[in-house]
Structures are given as C-alpha cells and as structure tokens.
C-alpha cells in the first residue's frame, strides 16, 4: 500500500542514487586518495564544488534556507554510493553541522549560515567532543563565561571532523546556567586549529579556544532554550548517516573480494569454490544485509515524527551494527585476498581504513551498545 508520496519519494531516491553512482564512476581515483594523505583539507576542492552544484550539501536542508528539503532516506542513498568510492568527505561533517544549526533556536543565524553551506561557500563543522571523545555531549570542560552581552569561550575541542577547510565551528560549552551551543568563525581571535591524522590519513581537528568572544547573535542555542538537545538530535542523525556511508564501504569491499575469489586460482581451482571461503563470504554478506535492514528502519524513524527515545535507540542500533559489520567485513576482505590484500597499493586496505574512521566517528559499537543498554525499555514485545 503505497501512496503517491512514497512513490514520488522512491522516484527521487532512485534519481539521486543514479546520479551518485554516475558521480563515483566518473571521479573515483584511488591514486589521488593516496596522494592526498596527510594534506589539508583532506578532500578534493573540485569534487566538493561539484557536489554543491548537484545540491547534495543541501539534501537535508529545508527549502527556505536554499536546500532541497529532502529526507534522510535521500541523504543516506547518496552517502552510501559515495562511500563505495571512498569519496564522501566532507559531506557528512557538513550535514552534521547543518543539522545542529537547524535544530537550534537562532533563526537569523540559520538564514545567514545555511544558504552558503548549501552552496559550499561556507563549510561549518561541529566541535563538541573533547580530550577523551565519547558520545555523552555533557562530558565537556569547555566554559562559557558571560562578559556583558557576550560570552567568552575557553577550552579544547578534539575529533573535529571537517575542521580543515571549515569556515566556522558549532561549539558546545558549559556555564553556570547549563549547556549551550555557540557559532565561532574559524578566523575569530583566540581560535587555533591543529590536526591529528585519522586512520585513512585525513585530518581530524583539535580546536583550541582562548577567551573567544561570541556575541548574542551567534548563540545557536542558549542553556535556557534546550541547551544541547539540538546537538543530541543531530548526533543521532549523523550517526545514522555514518552507517549509510559504512554500508557503501562494506558493499564495495565485499564486491572486491568476491570478484577476486571468482578469478584467483590456487590448487587448480578458483579459491571461491572452496567452502571454507564461501561460508566466510556468506557470513560477511549476512552482516552487510543487517546493516542495510537496520539503516532502512533508522532512516524511516528519522524521516518520521517518532519520539526522541525511539530515535536514539535506533540510531545506536544502526551505528553499532554499522561499526561492527564495517570493521569485520573490511578486515575479512583482506584475509580473503591473502598477501596482496596486505599491500598498500591494493585498495582493500583503503576500505579497512575508512571503516576504522567511520567506526570510531560519533561513537563506536561499544559506546553505542552501552548507550542502547541504558536507553532500552524494560519490556520487549514478543
């Protein structure tokens, strides 16, 4: 029983998938991926402007702010396809920041930041975690001190994805009245950014804030206006999107291994004819399909009007499954290839490293399992 809306949505999703598949086919070049290692900003500027032209940076941004006003189903499809080509950066970190801004209460700020975000002219990112990481948005030491009408932010943020090339940061901080979210441009006095390198040798930002002045205009969400609720919701959404990219990584890696198993001959037979390897591949396929199934449910939840608890539970299930399956599949894909899979010149390692990045990003499987356990309702329908 599908109404016209669903069919229209399916049509939309199908078209986006086609154009993303086409985009990856035209632009994929793992050689360049290797050349960009340990360079800033860690993605190709040309690719980014191409994505912006296609409207992808605005898929989940409402139309009044210049976006396409589509749903997470559409966004997930694009990220999944880009994931197959290892070329999703910096879509996810930008979408994450866009969602925090949207869930915030500062209408003027949305109007000034979201349209340039959609056009790719100003890339925001979220600076919320600190020295130990973790997914509790309240486990932070960064302070917001009132100074007349303004606030002064002091602290150190870590694991800031998309920090290189970012025009500004949504920063979480605590004050005597609670937690709040603040917009800080990257050139503001008192802001310094350093980098650590993620598993795939793309940058992860450390943002130091020393008495950084934020005017009342740039308060994304004050403590009295829901504080971190906007961030909490956006973390759930971005975690699901990370699982969508992971699904693409998993699919591409598994396909690579299957193709190899069909053609690599040992003991006079293709290695794919050996049952020990067939069963391993079948198990990886099961994991891939589980990610797909949970992702579908999670995306539907995000696109519906579910309550916050159900949203959080599904996001944690989705991210936990995605992280576990992503690491397992990309690890085993190396094993299925044998020695060639261990070399840097072969692409299997690139998928493993992207899986390591996505797995750790926004909470790994253990962190989400722990969160799920605390969120889990006492009863379970039989």
């Amino acid at each position: 029983m599908q109404d016209a809306n669903t069919l229209e949505a399916q049509h939309e999703t199908g078209m986006l998938r086609e154009s993303a598949v086409d985009f990856v086919r035209r632009n994929i070049e793992t050689k360049k991926l290797r050349e960009r290692r340990r360079t800033l900003p860690g993605y190709d500027a040309g690719t980014l402007s191409h994505m912006a032209e296609l409207g992808w940076l605005g898929i989940v941004v409402p139309e009044p702010y210049g976006g396409l006003g589509l749903g997470f189903a559409e966004m997930a499809v694009v990220l999944q396809e880009l994931g197959k080509g290892l070329m999703a950066d910096p879509m996810l970190s930008v979408a994450f920041a866009g969602r925090v801004l949207q869930h915030g209460t500062n209408e003027a700020l949305k109007q000034s930041l979201l349209p340039p975000l959609v056009e790719g002219r100003l890339l925001p990112c979220v600076a919320w975690q600190e020295v130990q990481g973790g997914i509790d948005p309240k486990a932070i030491a960064t302070r917001a001190e009132a100074d007349g009408e303004d606030v002064l932010l002091t602290g150190s943020k870590r694991f800031v994805a998309g920090a290189a090339g970012a025009g500004g940061f949504v920063v979480s901080a605590r004050s005597s009245s609670g937690y709040g979210l603040y917009w800080v441009t990257s050139d503001a006095p008192g802001v310094t950014v350093r980098y650590e390198w993620r598993a795939d040798e793309t940058p992860s930002g450390i943002v130091e804030l020393r008495s950084v002045r934020v005017s009342a205009d740039n308060v994304v969400c004050a403590a009295s206006e829901g504080g971190l609720a906007a961030l909490e919701r956006a973390v759930d959404e971005a975690a699901v999107l990370a699982a969508a990219e992971m699904l693409g990584v998993v699919e591409a890696a598994l396909q690579m291994a299957l193709a190899y198993m069909r053609t690599r001959v040992q003991f006079d037979k293709p290695i794919g004819s050996f049952q020990a390897l067939q069963h391993k591949a079948a198990d990886l396929y099961v994991q891939q399909e589980l990610v797909r199934a949970v992702l579908q449910d999670a995306v539907r939840e995000l696109d519906g009007d579910g309550d916050a608890l159900e949203r959080a539970r599904l996001a944690s299930r989705c991210k936990a499954r995605g992280s576990d399956a992503g690491l397992r599949v990309t690890r085993e894909v190396i094993q299925l290839h044998g020695a060639i899979g261990f070399t840097d010149e072969y692409d299997a390692g690139l998928y493993l490293k992207r899986a390591l990045v996505l797995s750790a990003f926004l909470g790994n499987a253990t962190a989400h399992r722990r969160r799920f356990a605390t969120l889990q309702e006492d009863t379970l329908a039989v």
Binding site: M1, Q2, L258, M261, R262, K269, P270, G272, S273, Q275, L277, Q278, H279, A281, A282, D283, Y285, V286, E289, L290, R292, A293, V294, Q296, D297, R317, A320, R321, T366, R369, R370, F372, A373, Q376, L380, A381, V382
Partner: protein, 388 residues
Amino acid sequence: MAENGQAPDWNALTDDEFRRVAREFFETHVPQHLRYLSRRPRWAEVKDWYLTMSRHGWLVPSWPKEWGGMGLSQSKVLVYLEELERSGAPRVMDQGLMNIGPLLIARGTDEQRRRFLPKILSGEQTWCQGYSEPNAGSDLASLRTEARIEGDEFVINGSKIWTSVAFDATHMFALVRTDKTVKKQAGISFVMIDMRQPGVTVRPIRNIAGHEELCEVFLDNVRTPVANMVGGLNEGWNVAKALLGFERIWSGSPRQSMLALLRLRMLAKASGKMADPVFVDKLAQVTMDVLDAASAYERFAQIMRTGGSFGFEVSMLKIWATETCQRATELMVEAAGDLGGLIGNVDVEGETLDILYPFLECRAFTIYGGSSQVQRNILAKNVLELPS
C-alpha cells in the same frame, strides 16, 4: 467455514486493522491452559482448540475462501502467524494447513482437493511430512524410499526420519524414488499416504531436550493409489520446492529469538544479573542482534507485502535468526552460573525457570529446514555467484 457460512473479506482491512482483529480473536479463544507451553502438545490435547478455530473460519489463513480458508494475502498471513505466536497459542497439527493444503490447491487435481481439504478442516485428517531419510539429510535428493507401480497403486518400501509428530498423523505426504536410473532429482515423486494401514510403523525419537516429537517412520509394502500423487510421475522434486516458498521467510522470522530473549531477561531480573556490567553489555549485544533480525525480517515481509518477490537472499534470515536465538540461550546458560548445570524447572530467587530447555531446544533450529551450512552454500552459489 465461518458459522454464518460467509467468510468476511479480510483483505479489505489494512494490515494494522487486521492485526487488531486477529489479536482479539486469539486473545479471546486460545484456551488459557494451553498458552506458552514449553513443549509441543499431543493432538488429543489441542484438538478442541483446532476445531474452535475451524468453526470460526480462522483455521487456515492462506487457503482461498472457496475451500474454507480465510483467503488472506501473504502479508496478512504473516500478521496472522505473528499474532498467533504472540498469543502463546499451542502448535496444532499444521502440516495439512500449511503445506499439503496449499499444495493441493495450487498443484492438486479437483478430485484430490475434494477428497482431502474438507477432512483437514474437520480434523479427521492430520498430516505429517516424510522428506528426510537416515541417509538423506542435507542431501535430501539422495533419498531411497522406493515406490513401484502395481496396477493403479504404488507399493512403497523404505523409511523416513525426523518426521514431527508422526504418531498423531493419519496421513503423510512424502517424497519417494520412482526412477533409479536418472539424475537423483529427476527420479522422485510426491505421494500422499494413509498411515492407518499395515506396514506403517512409527517409532518416536527422544531428543536432547527430553521430548519425543520427532519420529522415524518405517514403510513396509505400504500401498497408496497412484491417484494420490501430486504432480506428474518423477516431478516430485519440483513439487516439493514449490512448497518452500513461504517457509523460506517464516523459518527466518525472529519469533524464536524474541522468546529466547524474553526468557533471558526474566532470568537476569530474577538473579540480579542486571547489576553486572559485563552481562549488561552482552545482553545489549544479543538484544540488538535480535532487533536487527527483526529489521531484516521486516524488510523481506515488506517486499512480500507490496507484491514484490525475492530470491535466495532470504537465506540470510534463517542463518541470522536461528544463530542469534542460540546465542541468546547460550548467554542464558552462562548467566545462570551454577544454575546453568541444573536440568528442568529450577528455583531462581523464588522464580521458577527452565534454563536449559531453550538452549537444548534451539540446537535443532540451525539443522532443520536447510541447515545453517546449507543456507551458506545457497548464498555463496546463488547470491554471491561464487564458483562451484
């Protein structure tokens, strides 16, 4: 037939509306003393419940209305089964309802339908399935029970094994060898046999959970009319495969693992294990595994619901659902500590629980209906397109 002789048009309801009606029906009619049994009851115990369903026109969800069924669409059949399961209703003799009935409706002759279907509805005939043999398990097509034609009858010799509740069945549908000279799949026929004749011997087999539900059935010069064959001579393999369509999704439903999880949580609460962070993490893991099994199941159910079809990829459901169920029961035994060494009902801080029964029972889930290993072979060959 419904009491007023006119079955309602259930498919006019939405799935959600039908779910409410089904829930209410089972809530009202399932006898209290038969709910949530931890064993499969004998026919004598559940016959009244079977006849109650039959009287109300609720016995067979999938058959068309002209044959006394509810005529439900596939998605509503799933809803029906889910609600039946949820109500804790006991399993009845269902091979006639779920397997041979639909098969006769699809592939039988009019004469066969008239002769068998009404008697299944009335409970006069109860059916069992004769597929596996001592030397034909995962390699089912190597079966050797032989049927030779004498006049207008088959004379059948051989034995079947792992036949559920054969001792309560009046009839068996079976795969038999009718040609030994051709490729093994091409020499098999599908026949229906009256069990109430000399030469049929049923021997129950006690399983590791202590129950006698599975049987070995010996067939010694047993006779059945050639008119009781479904499909043509030597076409039995394809007839049997046609039966597997629905079973492929239902055998991968998360219902068993949901139940295992429920029992595990009961134990955890009674024993105070929820205070142990290591256990809580393992519980969260297996809970997510079960919920993910439900998401995967729902994905296939949805395809079915919207009139789509799927192929061999559905094998992933059975692998994941049954192996997850086993992990849940394994965690239950581990969490029980010393109590995990005690068989039968045991006292857990005032609560009575059978800790080992779920663990032992679900060893069978990864074996029957195509073992986990056979399912992996199917995925490797048909979905992953790996060479043989």
